[in-house]
Amino acid sequence: MVAYIIRRLLYMLAVLFVVSGITFALMHAVPGGPFDKEKKLPAEIQANKEKYYHLDDPLYVQYFSYLSQVIVPRITSEAPTLRTDDDYLVTVPIGIYWFKWMNFGPSYSSRSRTVNDIFRDQLPVSFQLGILALLIAIIIGMPLGIMSALNHNKWPDFMGMSVAIFGVSVPTIVLAPLLVWFFGVTLKWLPPTGWGAKPPFVLGLFPRSLGWDYFKYAILPAFVLGFGSAAIIARLTRASLLQVIREDYIRTARAKGLTEQMVINHHALKNGLIPIVTVIGPLFAGLVTGTFIIELVFGIPGLGKYFVTSISNRDYPVIMGTILLYAVFLVAANLVVDIVYGFLDPRIRYE
């Protein structure tokens, strides 16, 4: 088991290495640099700026120095400064020395902010939105699927599956403006834009208070984001449960004279919900990475907005940072799912 996890982690590193390489090559292949502005800078100033950010180095030097800044931890006697190229995500004092790790570099489009600053302030917002959306997806999707399966081919089934197909078919760019217009503009029940939590965040990720002031901003975007996934979960729950219900051990349980409730709760659901776990991982990664359309419509200060603008600004460190971060989310979610799967289904053994 431990060997399996270590092997998977090494494999993850290899994947991230390739992802970073492709992203780096692709973004440098796009013509134009971060300092090519509408109003052309004097050549010396442009050269100076590029020198300051080491953009005049050969590409492979830039790439490997970027990687070493991110991966290699360093221990120095130099106390952390406020310089934008000296901002490490992990900075721990050890005696007179400092342990520094993970420097994602400065943001070219801002003189004072670093990519790590963006991670600290904006990532938690996207993360909270993703978590809430996932919760909504599970809370709506699972009961809907269970209800449909237990009333197979009766009206609750058709109702449930109609809701599901609605969820799959109505995309976020349709649902988001409609709900903003209805609840935000016409009924004025909920604020149409904004987010209810500001940095600093608890543990770097969670809002400080969870009251109505937080949720009134979060309900609409989280619902819009989670609804599509709710439909996927509902369909999968239904299909999986229907399959389980026809298994021999369910017949055995019934034959033993267990109550229907016992059979469903302890025998059918337990086994029927295992496949759902496998989709929750990628679904969560997709939700966290897919937030930027929602952030755009609802004016939420999350990470997604930065990604889209960073591409048009050729803000290389921000592009690299966001893509790597999202890729880490994706691979990590898959790893967690594989491990959890082994616990839920004892038949699966890791060699």
């Binding site: 973004m27 799959v168 403006p177 503009v185 299909a239």
Partner: protein
């Protein structure tokens, strides 16, 4: 199930024959009994007709501006949204109103059908083409090559899909913006401009969506190539290429098509999404996604400008989802899970 579709034997002296049913005929029969799928199919046919006859249906051209009628709305919309009364410019010549540049919304929605349907039909073809070739090569020549090819797919899976396609679009749009005349990218750029920017969207979608297809194809090829008729073909000395395309491919294409049909709404959405964030089709080519984007900026004052393109997009996705589900049930009864 199948008994119903078999012809009844009329006279006793006739030999009892069962009309041979091929897979597709049987599937079509099953599809026809699925009411939702039929409705989806009819809507898609109507959409195709709309796309073909857009010039005849649309009362205006998609780029015809009349600034005097900017944001004009017909009377019935003011009745539905009474909040617009104080400021609305009423002009009944526009059935669904006009946008901020005074272009007819209805005409633009009609022309927008072309973009969405082009993606819906060409996206799957590209994904199938790349995915099937890649997957079958990988599955057919298993071993080291297979291992490497599948690792590549694994890595591509780790790319956040939407972000990757945004990066690709930025790459295409700017690299091929001002190339030297006569170069390859120049011609590609010309071609893209002719399609209103659609070509790069197709390429982007194709490049980011073939991996699933490749994995599926590989799995199918792996399970099929061990079967007896393939072994038999091998013993009589049929060439690899022939085995692949004559014997294996026709047997596995069914599920591949089903999966691709189910992916069509995702392609339509990707195009709408790209146009929504401004990386999609070039203006003034109308796309529902870009119309929703501009419309939602004026959501407070003119809800109709986002509402109608959004409805068009939702209806189209409904239709393809219904048809896709129906096709899956018809072609692959086993894939239905536990439906009886």
């Amino acid at each position: 199930m199948t008994a119903k579709t078999q012809p009844q034997v009329k006279a006793a002296d006739q030999p009892i024959t069962v009309k041979s049913q091929n897979l597709w005929k049987e599937a079509l029969g099953r599809l026809r009994r699925n009411r939702a799928a039929v409705a989806g199919g009819i809507i898609i046919i109507l959409l195709v007709l709309t796309a073909i006859f857009a010039e005849q249906i649309a009362p205006y051209s998609y780029d015809e501006q009349s600034l005097a009628n900017a944001n004009a709305v017909p009377e019935w919309i003011v009745k539905v949204f009474p909040s617009m009364k104080p400021y609305a410019v009423i002009n009944n010549a526009y059935p669904l109103g006009a946008d901020a540049l005074g272009r007819d919304l209805f005409s633009r929605i009609v022309y927008g059908t072309r973009v969405s349907l082009a993606v819906a039909f060409i996206g799957p073809i590209i994904a199938l083409f790349i995915g099937v070739i890649y997957g079958s090569v990988s599955g057919f020549f298993s071993g080291g090559l297979d291992n490497i090819m599948m690792r590549i797919v694994d890595v591509l899976y780790a790319f956040p899909g939407l972000l990757f396609i945004i990066l690709l679009m930025a790459f295409f749009r700017t690299t091929i913006a001002h190339p030297p005349e006569g170069s390859f990218s120049y011609y590609i750029g010309q071609l893209d401009a002719k399609f209103g920017g659609l070509l790069f969207i197709m390429i982007g979608i194709g490049l980011t969506s073939w991996e699933t297809q490749a994995r599926l194809t590989r799995g199918q090829v792996l399970s099929t190539r061990e079967q007896e008729y393939i072994v038999a073909a091998r013993t009589i000395g049929v060439k690899d290429r022939h085995i692949m395309f004559r014997h294996i491919l026709p047997n596995i294409i069914g599920p591949l098509i089903v999966v691709e049909t189910l992916a069509i709404p995702a392609y339509i959405y990707t195009e709408a999404f790209l146009s929504f964030i401004g990386l999609g089709v070039n203006p003034p080519t109308p796309s529902w996604g870009s119309m929703i984007a501009t419309g939602s900026r004026a959501l407070r004052s003119y809800p109709n400008q986002a509402l109608f393109p959004a409805l068009a997009l939702a209806i189209t996705m409904f239709a393809f989802n219904f048809l896709g589900d129906g096709l899956r049930d018809a072609l692959e009864p086993r894939l239905r899970g536990a439906q009886e």
